[in-house]
Symmetry: C2
Subunit: 298 residues, 2 copies
């Protein structure tokens, strides 16, 4: 099965990162007695279930690519994954995308209930900012909080989801779709890379490189997501497929055909690789991960 795990020579590093992320997520969701049991269980269900951990891995990889210690970026890695996980739990709600399957398991409001799924999302967002504010180097904490808040907010992540839901898409173009995904997916990819860079003490020039990489990678990821919805294997993808088309959502394959969409992925991956080339050998794992997207099947 082709996944987003990196192959040799960086496979050991990738596996180490994944294990470190899962352990840090687990530890950061051991909540105090003030948290009701059911809420705490649901938070852990939403975050600790199977997942690619793509965004938190990008945080660590960006940190390493800029010469930083990835361990120092672990709280930021957990923070972006918590924002991502909360947004999925809310997107899956009946009032939104109404999905009952996610990562091969019942979605949060099916496994628990709607009220819990709403509160889980709210609590995970707060926890993300708590981690960033209190667990990363104090000199970078406020900047990290500010950048994550902007990426997660009304003009980016939430705005993209709101625009996607509106769905007045008659006559929409690829540019319109790209604008939605720049917010809905791109912003969180960008902030993942940037937080890793910031915590490594990266220069503004390095941060710009990471941002360009993330913009292309995020879009490539979204196009492959749309391609999987059309032609993926449900067992492997772990969520219901064909739903985007059913509910009249705009997708790349629909707008530009499957072949052209695949071609777009290739171009975006090349652009991502070119963006981080100036960072040198340290950015090789980022390039490798982008190349892997081409064979993505989940």
């Amino acid at each position: 099965m082709a996944t987003l795990e990196s192959s040799a020579p960086h496979q050991a590093e990738a596996q180490h990162d994944l294990a470190a992320i899962n352990q840090a997520l687990d530890e950061s969701l051991r909540l105090g007695p003030g948290c009701p049991d059911r809420l705490g269980q649901a938070m852990r269900y939403v975050v600790l279930g199977p997942g690619k951990r793509l965004r938190p891995r990008l945080v660590l990889m960006a940190c390493r690519a800029c010469g930083g210690d990835p361990a120092a970026a672990l709280p930021a890695a957990c923070a972006v994954e918590m924002i991502h996980a909360y947004s999925l739990a809310h997107d899956d709600l009946p009032a939104m995308d109404d999905d009952d399957l996610r990562r091969g398991r019942p979605t949060c409001h099916i496994e628990f209930d709607e009220a819990t799924a709403i509160l889980v999302g709210d609590a995970l967002q707060a926890r993300a900012f708590e981690l960033l504010a209190t667990r990363v180097a104090p000199e970078h904490a406020a900047r990290c909080c500010g950048e994550l808040a902007q990426a997660a907010g009304a003009e980016k992540l939430v705005g993209g989801q709101a625009a996607d839901l509106c769905g007045a898409f008659d006559g929409a173009t690829v540019d319109d779709l790209r604008a939605i995904h720049a917010r809905k997916t791109g912003a969180m990819f960008i902030v993942s890379l940037r937080l890793g860079g910031i915590l490594a003490g990266a220069s503004e020039e390095q941060l710009t490189r990471l941002t360009d990489y993330a913009r292309s990678l995020g879009l490539a990821f979204q196009v492959t997501d749309d391609l999987l919805d059309v032609s993926g294997d449900q067992q492997s993808v772990g969520k219901r497929l064909g739903k985007d088309a059913d509910r009249g959502k705009l997708t790349y394959p629909e707008l530009m055909g499957v072949d052209q969409s695949r071609q777009l992925v290739v171009e975006l991956i090349d652009a991502a690789a070119a963006a981080v080339q100036p960072l040198g050998d340290a950015a090789a794992p980022l390039v490798e991960l982008a190349r892997k997207l081409q064979n993505r099947d989940r």
Copy 2:
């Protein structure tokens, strides 16, 4: 009409604060083109509607009581009001308290729709942290973000709402109810006072005083809230009354009777006043505001 507006001699100051808060909230909700119109309108509807602005006023009052410039605390005042407003929009949802009236107007999911009400809450929480991270003095920003995130999270605000919803209250005591409200109401009162103090450069001793004041005030506020639900005037209160009892929610009047609840309010107000007495004359407006709670009718 007896409200929570302060009377002379601090009335002019209170009115000035209120105007400054409303203007700052308005300015901080002028969002960029990335924010879809409907989402932006709904965010403004939820935050800028009529409201007492009690929590943001407490931020400014605490800042002034510790010798700080309240203008420097305005972003923090906006942040706590946004967290408060988002939590109300989510609490009102059909899956939660299912309320259709709030502050005398249709709740957000009635005026807009459920998906918008969910996203509005998500975006407001992010905006609160963005303001704190980017608009307060850099040396205090991370601490402010951390304290607000904790107050708004799974162990406090969200946890209190989750516990309140569970509602397995047979045999519950006043202590149980107090524990829920310490999280659901108290934590946001406490962080409001503390952020104002932190931004004034308050000492730990001063912050402890503010915390003790806020704990008593928050509880007194909740008891008067319960009393209004039993005996208030719906027109004046601006939300449906008698619903707590209808849905089997635990309230102070039910547990200890109306007279004893009123007596508890008096005791809590005295405790709040005593807590900030060591701060001297600068804390007089805080004492005055607490005393006003006794005659609260909305």
